[in-house]
């Protein structure tokens, strides 16, 4: 295990005046400003778009050099939308194997550098570029196919599904680091501009820029910490939804939930990947938080908000409202769950939570990761 010692977040936004390196610098500086540090063993940068956006290789070294701290080694981890938690997985294993005492994880990505159709082309590459992404499916197409399949199979209507973004915006409104801090109604979601029918603009994560940093420490490091990072479970899935026996099953998520022996009743807080409404809904079901076909109804009933019957899910506002700067998202999730467990999260808080998870996937689930955290 490792400790989450401190975190530093930048509000996700259209940060036109800041480069990816400026954003990373800001988040990293906040994470280390109050910690007495001699050396950071590794600076691990998680980013999936920065090479394309800023034409910069060896990004981690360039970011690390500006921190004014002695850094032994720095490298970048890329796993698409799942980059952040991939970095967490690597960091935990380095600490567990005694190769590191202190690791600074910095997630950063910028989605507003270019006009949107160029960005769509870049982010379409989360899907398999040898099959689905040969076509002009965009970033939402395959998930839109799943949304319609889900509505048909379970007889869930469009309006019921709109309660996911409604809940995300209600949560995000209270989170100072969220990009979208306003409430929406189911009616607004249903009638928003379509981006890939039946997905509308309000079902989708906004294009925004952000950076998040987390300092992880080994058990031997004294001082104050926020939470314990106990384990990261990881799995890979099929290359396309077309290859699955059931296109609606995120088999890689099911696999890690089983491996973790996940019991939804034990979990107090969760941050899960909701790139689109349907992604959030399918993850809730795959994690066992809701029976198949019932997640949207449970969301509408308030099961996953504060005071609901289930765990508090995405108090940050999720990818939907906090925002989804790709490679940074998993680091935001880790920071948010750690702050919930420490009682310092600046938005809606769970009541004395003991156990929390952060769950991320890339695209339709080409990879999946689950980080398990505990209160100190």
């Amino acid at each position: 295990m490792a400790y989450v010692t401190s975190v530093g977040l930048v509000r996700v936004d259209r940060n036109y005046y800041k480069s990816p390196r400026d954003l990373a610098f800001e988040a990293a500086s906040k994470a280390i400003e109050d910690v007495k540090l001699d050396t950071i063993d590794y600076v691990i940068v998680t980013s999936s778009l920065t090479y394309l956006q800023a034409s910069q290789f060896d990004l981690a070294a360039y970011i690390a050099r500006e921190l004014g701290v002695n850094v032994r080694s720095a490298f970048t981890v890329e796993a698409g939308e799942n980059s952040g938690l991939a970095g967490v997985e690597v960091a935990l294993n380095l600490i567990r194997s005694h190769a590191a005492e202190r690791i600074l994880l910095v997630g950063v990505d910028k989605l507003t550098e270019y006009i949107s159709n160029r960005t769509y082309k870049m982010i379409q590459a989360i899907y398999d570029t040898e099959s689905d992404a040969v076509y002009n499916v965009g970033h939402a197409g395959p998930m839109a196919l799943l949304m319609r399949l889900y509505m048909d199979r379970y007889g869930v209507d469009r309006e019921t599904l709109a309660h996911w973004p409604v809940m995300m915006h209600t949560h995000g409104k209270e989170n100072p680091y969220a990009m979208l801090r306003f409430k929406v109604t189911p009616d607004k979601v249903v009638n928003a501009m379509p981006i890939a029918e039946p997905i509308t603009l309000l079902d989708a994560y906004p294009l925004g820029d952000g950076a998040a940093a987390v300092l992880l420490s080994s058990e031997d490091q004294g001082g104050d910490h926020l939470a314990k990072l106990s384990e990261v479970y990881s799995s890979i899935g099929f290359q396309s939804i077309a290859l699955r026996d059931d296109p609606l099953s995120f088999e890689a998520v099911g696999q890690i939930a089983r491996e973790a022996g996940l019991n939804p009743e034990d979990i107090d807080v969760a941050e899960i990947h909701d790139s689109f409404t349907i992604t959030g809904i399918l993850l809730l079901e795959e994690l066992g938080f809701a029976p198949r076909g019932k997640a949207a109804e449970m969301v509408a009933e308030g099961a996953f908000t504060k005071g609901g019957s289930g765990p508090l899910v995405n108090a940050s506002g999720g990818l939907k409202a906090r925002g989804h700067p790709k490679g940074a998202t998993g680091v935001y999730m880790l920071a948010e769950v750690a702050m919930q467990l420490a009682g310092t999260f600046p938005g809606i808080r769970a009541d004395s939570p003991r156990k929390g998870i952060a769950v991320g996937v890339n695209a339709h689930g080409s990879s999946a990761r689950l980080a398990f955290l505990e209160a100190l």
Partner: protein
């Protein structure tokens, strides 16, 4: 998209060829280096049925790159007659008339063009099936 990337895949993409796993018996498309189901490399290229059923569809507005000029674009999840599924663009459709369960058939259509050389890139799309089988 650079041309060699497209050229390497010309056989499966233009002839609509899948791969049969001789160990587990399952067919997948496009052909991969190993069977996605059992990992076997004992694969044989097989022609795929041209007809199938539309299981799901979407009209995509957030169309990437230069193809934005052609937005919105219909895409579908097609279940071929042998049970193999494919995600592909749809063509020759009236978006309002799309519905789950309609029969579709594979045709060769333009997917886009290479931005630098202007070469037209083709591939299989699906349209509502015409005539008898």
């Amino acid at each position: 998209m650079v041309l060699p990337v497209w050229w390497r895949k010309r056989i499966p993409r233009y002839r609509f060829v899948g791969a049969l796993c001789k160990d587990c018996g399952r067919i997948h498309y496009p052909p991969r280096n190993a069977c996605p189901y059992c990992g076997s490399r004992n694969l044989e290229l097989v022609p795929l049925p041209r007809r199938g059923v539309l299981e799901s569809y979407s009209i995509v507005y957030s169309v990437p790159g230069d193809n934005r000029l052609n937005a919105p674009l219909p895409i579908g999840l097609v279940r071929l007659e042998n049970g193999v599924r494919v995600v592909a663009e749809l063509t020759d459709v009236v978006p309002e008339k799309l519905e789950k369960g309609i029969e579709v058939e594979a045709v060769i259509r333009r997917i886009g063009e290479d931005g630098e050389t202007g070469t037209i890139l083709y591939g299989v799309k699906f349209r509502p099936a015409l005539g008898r089988k």
